[in-house]
Symmetry: C2
Subunit: 247 residues, 2 copies
Amino acid sequence: MKDPKATGPQSCEDCPIRHRAVCARCETDELEKLEDIKYYRTFEAGQTVIWAGDPMDFVGSVVSGIATLTQTMEDGRRQMVGLLLPSDFVGRPGRDGAAYDVVATTDLVMCCFRKKPFEKMMMETPHIAQRLLEMTLDELDAAREWMLILGRKTAREKIASLLSIIARRDATLQLAGMRGPLVFDLPLTREAMSDYLGLTLETVSRQMSALKRDGVIELEGKRHVTIPDLPRLLEEAGDDADGGMMA
Amino acid sequence: MKDPKATGPQSCEDCPIRHRAVCARCETDELEKLEDIKYYRTFEAGQTVIWAGDPMDFVGSVVSGIATLTQTMEDGRRQMVGLLLPSDFVGRPGRDGAAYDVVATTDLVMCCFRKKPFEKMMMETPHIAQRLLEMTLDELDAAREWMLILGRKTAREKIASLLSIIARRDATLQLAGMRGPLVFDLPLTREAMSDYLGLTLETVSRQMSALKRDGVIELEGKRHVTIPDLPRLLEEAGDDADGGMMA
DNA sequence: AATTGACTTTGACCCAGATCAAGCGCGGCA
DNA sequence: TGCCGCGCTTGATCTGGGTCAAAGTCAATT
């Protein structure tokens, strides 16, 4: 993985509540009263942060690394319903149990707040709710984009859409409007990709091979991807205008 | 359609901002200053409220009737990404264009607020953002439930899930925990159902027939549905625990 | 009562993607 | 050095749902 700090907040240490994930505007003098309700947790790649249904007495945000939200049916069918990147928020004020499985797909650092005091603070500090509203609306847009992908796109378009989403996000690391090829490491296994896209892992593999064969992407090893021609990829994704949106 | 007031707010006239869609807690003395920024719009079944991309200078909430949010690809493939019921909120503070097509599927009354003043009021009245946050989180949950349906369920399960969602919502009209059969009218055409579920209209029709043949549902005409055994329907939907969630 | 047109159902056939089943590549480890 | 084991690829075959086509229902209109 790339250094996640590059896209995430510069540091969660500087100011916990100023942390972009929670609020971009609050004042530093709120720092002290937070010290006792905030803590950090780290996870290794593959570890589960919390299982759906388990009691969850905290909310938090991703400092570095990547986590996934997935839903599972009784018979084992799984659907990923969210991808958490640095600065993304986890947990719902006012809800006691986790709604989804949260799994670290890379090494992960989270900045957590005990839920009750956080809720109290949210009541007293208006812009926290305003900031959370903005973030939640972004996630909702991402979820809806995803619904179009799941409901109406072909396997090839789905793969291209996923790569666009990741490329787009990583592109912020590079010069905006740059011309050259885009290069990144896939943060997901083929299986995680299939859970994301509502496909089987075999279909994901086949379509990756097909996109490679057709020159839309280049692969070095299994994870390292080069996009020589982003507009071409976006066209393959089925939405020429842009590459989908991300939470 | 049923009288939508039964599930929606009792009246939008009583107090525009106390309107459940916006805020359940504000004080009546905010009424006056709202009179000049709020207005009503009515639409007939089938009318388009706004097209994706069009400038949108208002936000609002559904007073009565049902509307859909849909996304369309250049080649005409469509995916419904939201179902708006009475008290649901439309529009995003801080965004200028509509992100989705909004279409009235029944006769529709909306309570609208000019966007700029609404945003200003939201900044000044903390619980409005808090209320909108709650609602948006509910919508996000619904969208994620929907993603599981789109990505992993079979056609039969999709239909059963949709019927469960509608039945569940309409069930609030009836005594909670009631035993008897559930009866309601589908607010959607077969085509709208297919747009919702990522299927073709033919498949929707076939699966409706199959569920009828198997005694899971009873049909009188094309729209009037009876659910003789709700647990059976939920089982067919693939999630025994409950019938999915709704925005 | 017949016509029209929107919506729905049903049938026949086909294909994208699932399923089942080998193998491959490569890092970790004895 | 070789042998796991895990993630990935590739092949062969099957099938759920799509596609194309026709006919049925029903309310509104003439």
